[in-house]
């Protein structure tokens, strides 16, 4: 009894420290911008940022850029997920193929693939195509690797047991392989989604014509700091929402 109330007190204290930390950060920001004379070109006033943030939300001026980024993300993720799952499944069907391809994929995945962005810009131009290609390439590897891990390392006993009880290929896949592989695979799909989102925003920042990353750079180059901060907050919130959505879907898929 005593220990439980202690624990709750401890958790409350942790929450209080977290809240105090965040509030202190915002107060410091406010003081730096208003009292200590930090130039608004480096650090805009938080109230101005808040005002611009509401204005962005109210006028809906973010819609065009958001649509571009989300379209790129959807296309890249669709390509990465379908290719990754199919390639991963085909490779996982033989131990020999796993041992040939898994280290190759892991090796390529450890290179920062963002290096290929200039090449993709050369091939596909500055438009959405180069972002889709880069996002699809980067998203492919975690999905393929986790699909291999999911399907390739199913407990042999389960497969033999199902076979000896007379399961057909389809039944084996439906009732043994898929349930065993799904959790690992879904983790890979979530990771693929996250890295595809990051690489798309990143490539929009580096070289693009439209999109949320492009908007931030555009405002930065115009030294419009308050709207730029507001857009950063907006993009971070959107990314957080999307990642939360995918994690929820992943958790739901696991429970099946």
């Amino acid at each position: 009894m005593r220990s439980r109330s202690d624990e709750r007190e401890g958790r409350l204290a942790s929450r209080a420290v977290q809240a105090a930390f965040l509030i202190a950060l915002i107060v410091l920001w406010y003081l730096a911008a208003t009292r200590w004379g930090v130039s608004p070109l480096l650090l805009p006033n938080p109230t101005a940022v808040l005002r611009d943030f509401w204005q962005i939300l109210r006028t809906g001026e973010f819609l065009g850029d958001l649509r571009v980024t989300l379209t790129e993300l959807a296309a890249a993720f669709a390509i990465a997920a379908s290719c990754g799952v199919v390639a991963g499944y085909l490779i996982s069907r033989s131990q020999y193929r796993i041992r040939v391809f898994e280290p190759l994929f892991a090796g390529i995945y450890s290179i920062p693939i963002i290096l290929f962005l200039p090449l993709y810009v050369l091939f596909f131009g500055l438009g959405p195509a180069s972002k889709i290609a880069l996002g699809a390439t980067i998203g492919f590897f975690p999905i393929a690797l986790n699909t291999i891990a999911g399907f390739g390392y199913v407990d042999k006993t389960l497969v033999i047991a199902a076979r000896s009880m007379g399961a057909s290929d389809v039944q084996l896949f439906r009732y043994v392989l898929l349930p065993a592989a799904l959790p690992v695979m879904l983790t890979g799909v979530r990771m693929g989604f996250t890295v595809a989102l990051l690489s798309i925003i990143g490539s929009e920042t580096i070289a693009s014509l439209a999109g949320l990353g492009h908007r931030i750079v555009y405002l930065a180059e115009g030294m419009e700091m308050a709207p730029m901060f507001a857009y950063i907050v907006f993009v971070v919130a959107i990314a957080g929402l999307l990642n939360m959505l995918v994690s929820t879907l992943e958790a739901r898929g696991r429970r099946r």
Partner: protein, 257 residues
């Protein structure tokens, strides 16, 4: 007997792996020679043949040196900062419970959105690349150090204390040895992060680094030298990753449970 057979199987595997890579290079060679416009893609044989010419291009060796230096400094700073933050947060249960969620939250935000801010604060020189690399690199080290400290069996701490170990002795003989495997795992992730951060910042804006040359070669439709430069950087990334991975294997070998 069995070991000889295992060796032979391993050699066959390596031959197959290399075979896949060679096959891909052949496809690339054929595509570049007969199908694709040479403005956009050049065959791998040309790329390798022109590597010496790439290194003779004015400024490229210096740019590679600058990038390597940025990677090294960013990695070293990441290790130090990650270690300090990880220990500060991890050693106290209360600090861990309070600040770990904040670290996780910050680690989860897409840092690339604030890349223009780094350029604004640190300039377009090396400092901004190093700072951005550090911002990607120190999180994994801090997180894994916290995890490593957390996973020490309480019985070890209790028995050390029961045998009269001082706080420093517990740190030195119980906590540090148990931290080493997760520390090296963190270093491996940190190297991936630092590579990503530094190269992202280089590609975004650069006056003398490799980002300058990738832009130049792209704008001049010079795929031979662009591919050469990318290959050299990829090789650099592979070597750096491999060094850290070997170090991790070496230093976590004793820790098998």
């Amino acid at each position: 007997m069995t070991s000889a057979r295992a060796w032979r199987a391993l050699r066959r595997l390596w031959i197959a792996r290399i075979g896949v890579v060679v096959l891909l290079l052949c496809l690339w060679e054929i595509a570049a020679r007969w199908w694709v416009d040479p403005m956009f893609l050049s065959p791998p044989s040309h790329v390798f043949a022109s590597l010496p010419a790439l290194f003779e291009t004015r400024g490229v060796p210096a740019a590679l040196r600058v990038t390597f230096w940025e990677l090294a400094v960013a990695f070293a700073l990441s290790v130090v900062i990650g270690l300090v933050i990880g220990l500060a947060v991890g050693l106290q249960p209360f600090a861990r419970k309070s600040f770990m969620p904040i670290i996780l939250l910050l680690y989860g935000t897409p840092q690339v959105t604030i890349l223009p801010l780094f350029i604004l604060y640190f300039g377009i020189g090396s400092a901004s690349k190093i700072a951005f690399g550090v911002s990607h690199g120190f999180f994994p080290i801090a997180m894994l150090i916290v995890a490593g400290v957390q996973n020490i069996k309480p019985i070890l701490l209790t028995s050390a204390r029961a045998m009269g170990a001082t706080r420093w002795q517990i740190l030195r003989h119980v906590i540090f040895p148990h931290m080493i495997p997760s520390f090296f795992a963190g270093m491996r992730l940190a190297m991936t992060g630092v590579l990503l951060g530094v190269l992202l910042a280089e590609l975004y804006v650069s006056t003398a680094g490799i980002g300058h040359f990738t832009t130049l070669f792209t704008q001049n439709f010079d795929p031979t030298r662009l591919l050469g430069l990318i290959s050299v950087l990829a090789a650099m990334a592979i070597v750096l990753n491999e060094i850290v991975r070997r170090a991790e294997l070496h230093f976590s070998r004793w820790h098998t449970d």
